[in-house]
Amino acid sequence: MSLRETINGTTAGDRVLFIFLLLVSFIGIFFIKEVLPRGNEVVIEVEGRVAYEYPLDSDRTVKVESRYGHLTVEIRKGKVRVVDASCPNKLCEHQGWVSSGAIVCLPNRISILVGSQEKPKDGAVDATAG
């Protein structure tokens, strides 16, 4: 009644099923990214309106300006960061590289939405922030 006996006592079906499931999930882990539509976009909103839209996999540096200030957005290798912001506390810079979610710069009224979220409608920013 040892573990070895039990393992040897498994049916062929058991073994085939185990290897099949492992293989399928292993392949799935690596290929699901390729299969899924790359809906990943970087949407930059200035004062509540969509100003720029870029695919996340195109490396570029963008300078974004609003009435309140400016900041520079860097997109590289599927991640986004703010390199240079004109605001005093630079919270957006400290946030570093972001691959999903959002970077919001309140003083400059600029928000950078990363990932495949639904685009907010124009004017969706609430009155206090906008």
Binding site: M1, T10, D14, L21, F26, G28
Partner: protein, 177 residues
């Protein structure tokens, strides 16, 4: 259903509950990740006492565990119930269609697979509502489930053999109750 089977189902349900509770003590990298140790008992009940007994054990475990943790009829309960039912139904179906093909290990793998699939589907339906994250996590979950299913299946196999060998003792336990 014989009177003695009822005792056995009650006893197995208690074991399943204990394992279910014990499992929450094991630290996991992701909080909702579970090994599904209680499935050892479900498989044991299924092989030794049949489909109805296993279904009963699953239902009792899910309902009472949720009452213990205070999540009865909550979203976690829905996931738990859906997973448990899908798992036992799939095991029953496979055993009915091809009785000799799989031993306890194969049944455990089937159970784990359908447990995960139904929970992913329910999570999509109830909470996430986006197909990408569900598809994204599915292969990872199936792989972990397969490994956990193998461990559970081997444990169930050992338990079943032990119970069959020491059949007199089990008999006594049931009568002693």
């Amino acid at each position: 259903m014989q009177q003695q089977d009822k005792y056995r189902i009650a006893l197995l349900s208690a074991y399943a509950l204990a394992l279910h509770g014990f499992e929450s003590l094991i630290p996991m990298p992701i909080p909702w990740l579970r090994i599904g140790l209680a499935n050892i008992i479900t498989i044991t009940a299924f092989i030794l006492l049949g489909f109805r007994a296993a279904l009963m054990v699953t239902l009792v475990r899910v309902v009472i565990a949720s009452i213990f943790t205070g999540s009865f009829l909550g979203p976690g309960f829905m996931l738990s119930m859906g997973g448990g039912l899908a798992s036992i139904l799939a095991m029953g179906a496979v055993f009915y269609v091809a009785p000799g093909l799989f031993g306890p290990v194969g049944l455990s793998l089937i159970g784990a697979l359908f447990h995960n699939l139904s929970q992913l589907f329910l999570a999509y339906l109830l909470f996430i509502r986006k197909i990408e994250p569900v598809l994204f996590i599915a292969p990872v979950l199936i792989m972990i489930g397969t490994i956990a299913g193998l461990v559970n299946g081997l444990a169930a196999d050992l338990l079943i053999k032990g119970l069959k060998n020491g059949g007199d003792k089990i008999q006594n336990t049931a009568e002693w109750k």
